[in-house]
Symmetry: C2
Subunit: 328 residues, 2 copies
């Protein structure tokens, strides 16, 4: 592999000049610049990233820590992150933490070892609680989940409002006996629940039941199954992510109930399947691509300017009303 020395020799300049040209630094004569560029071209020179990172202590890699890439929300976010990062010359390290604080800590250390420029991170509630801006030696931007610390850049849905709106929609359509299925371990499920309860309270209602479970299909299935087979079954099920909704839908099918006549179903996140099932699923759609995009842009800006003031970007979800919650 050609090194910067080869380029310097070819261009008839020193390695310092080559480095300056490539870094776009000032104080290089037009002539030298042209010679260097020609040499780079001729030798097809590409700088060695490890050497750059070692010397400069910063890399062009950003970490992406999500609980599970198979959750369609994170899949969509990660695509946006990768697009924007790559556009800016960064690569991404992908990690799955499985909502496990120990795994999170482990990965974060590995990120530090690799001198990542920054990390986009979706922490468990537990990890989120103690987060501080300079804890890791690199900047972080939170996505999907919040932290009590307002000094940390964060991109979030307005979860409380979204939960409230989705619940109001059910109430408006005549549902009164609503069961809530919430993902545990994250602030997100909690906030959506808060909106859920707020809407119910405003009509002096309480949920017919609530379940907190791992935010995966099996969790949604079990929770909904229990709810539907209880003495006092719900007329609507409110879920806080697409996996829980899938599980709940499966439970409804298993119980041979009709949607929405026997029980309505609503959830979060627009997925491939939400308009493929019949009736179609009413959801709060999140602007997933924008979320990933915004988070990455924020991270890149902070990498450039570490003293930039922190900000929380709150995006609003869109209620997509469909057949699964039709008026009774």
């Amino acid at each position: 592999m050609e090194s910067i020395k080869d380029v310097a020799r070819e261009a008839g300049v020193s390695t310092a000049t080559v480095s300056r040209v490539l870094a776009g630094k000032p104080y290089v004569s037009e002539k030298a610049r042209a010679q260097v560029l020609a040499a780079v071209d001729k030798l097809k020179y590409r700088p060695n990233r490890a050497a750059q990172t070692l010397r400069s202590q910063r890399s062009t890699t950003i970490g992406l820590l999500v609980s599970d890439i198979r959750n369609p929300y994170f899949t969509a976010v990660s695509r946006a992150v990768e697009d924007v990062a790559h556009e800016a010359g960064y690569s991404i390290f992908l990690c799955n933490t499985d909502e496990n604080p120990e795994k999170e800590a482990l990965y974060l250390k590995e990120m530090a070892d690799k001198n990542v420029a920054g990390v986009i991170y979706s922490p468990t509630k537990q990890s989120a609680e103690t987060l501080t801006p300079n804890q890791f030696g690199f900047p972080i931007v939170l996505v999907d989940r919040n932290t009590p610390n307002s000094d940390i850049d964060t991109v979030l849905l307005d979860n409380v409002t979204a939960g409230e709106r989705l619940t109001f929609h059910l109430l408006e359509n005549g549902y009164r006996r609503i069961f809530g299925v919430f993902g545990e371990a994250s602030t997100t499920g909690e906030q959506r629940r808060e909106g859920f309860l707020r809407a119910l309270r405003s009509m002096e209602l309480s949920p017919v039941g609530e379940s907190f479970t791992t935010p995966r299909i099996q969790g949604g299935l079990t929770a909904a199954m229990n709810a539907l087979q209880a003495a006092n079954p719900p007329d609507a099920i409110f879920t806080t992510n697409s996996l829980l909704a899938a599980g709940a839908l499966s439970a409804i099918h298993k119980c041979q109930l009709r949607i929405p006549d026997d029980v309505a179903l609503v959830g979060f996140d627009e997925t491939t399947w939400s308009t493929l099932v019949q009736p179609q699923l009413t959801v709060i759609a999140q602007p997933t691509y924008e979320i990933g995009q915004t988070a990455t842009e924020m991270l890149l800006k902070r990498i450039e300017d570490p003293k930039r003031s922190a900000r929380k970007v709150i995006l609003s979800g869109e209620l997509l009303v469909r057949g699964s919650s039709a008026a009774r």
Copy 2:
């Protein structure tokens, strides 16, 4: 940050000894080993990856190049890849190539710049044609797609057989006017088509029509729409991935046709939604996790032993018969 020198000083040995201990190399006394380990522990020393990579010319990172992580097949594979890689101490770089050979080439170069230990790669047909084992300076393992070159490690589904089996299933159930929707740009769609045609030919039939399209929802939608509105509509639609199936299903809904009475639908890949739609979708399920796992294990073995003979691992898919292709 502590460096290896600090550890050496603390342990009262040289940096060479520290390095030997940490690399698990022989010829270190038990005493020295213990001292080093104690020092590492005390100082919470973690080796700098950039320095290791620069010096040794190999990193603990592997690249994962897929066309689009949002394709559930690749999502599932990537999860397995990350699991196995991490277990072995490797991190993964994720890249989306969008079936674009130029993007593929670009990313592959970036991988080289970063000294990746190897790459798991799902090439377009075009890129696959000229692949050679040492083209990039690091080993590659192909997933999902084949190359004419038998010297390249590959993990694949037995696509021809799978396509054939899925088609036979339709034929057995009385469907005769079958339309094929194939993903273009990859060998996979091609091979599945080969099986499809082979099954039809064995009964002296031809497809009622064929469409080659970008393997995404919109492609499936348009292709199926055209087929269904043609003068000579099919009684079954055969698709080669889950996105195409989703598009086709959408088209069938749009045309207000009933499945399977008006038209049957079959596809590839088990997804969250294949058992959520009604009737449920008949598919060839691929062992996606195993595919990712196997590919990663193969790559790690080749990294260890570059002269290991190349192998193609062909896994078989499982036909899951469901309502969308019930006997007529």
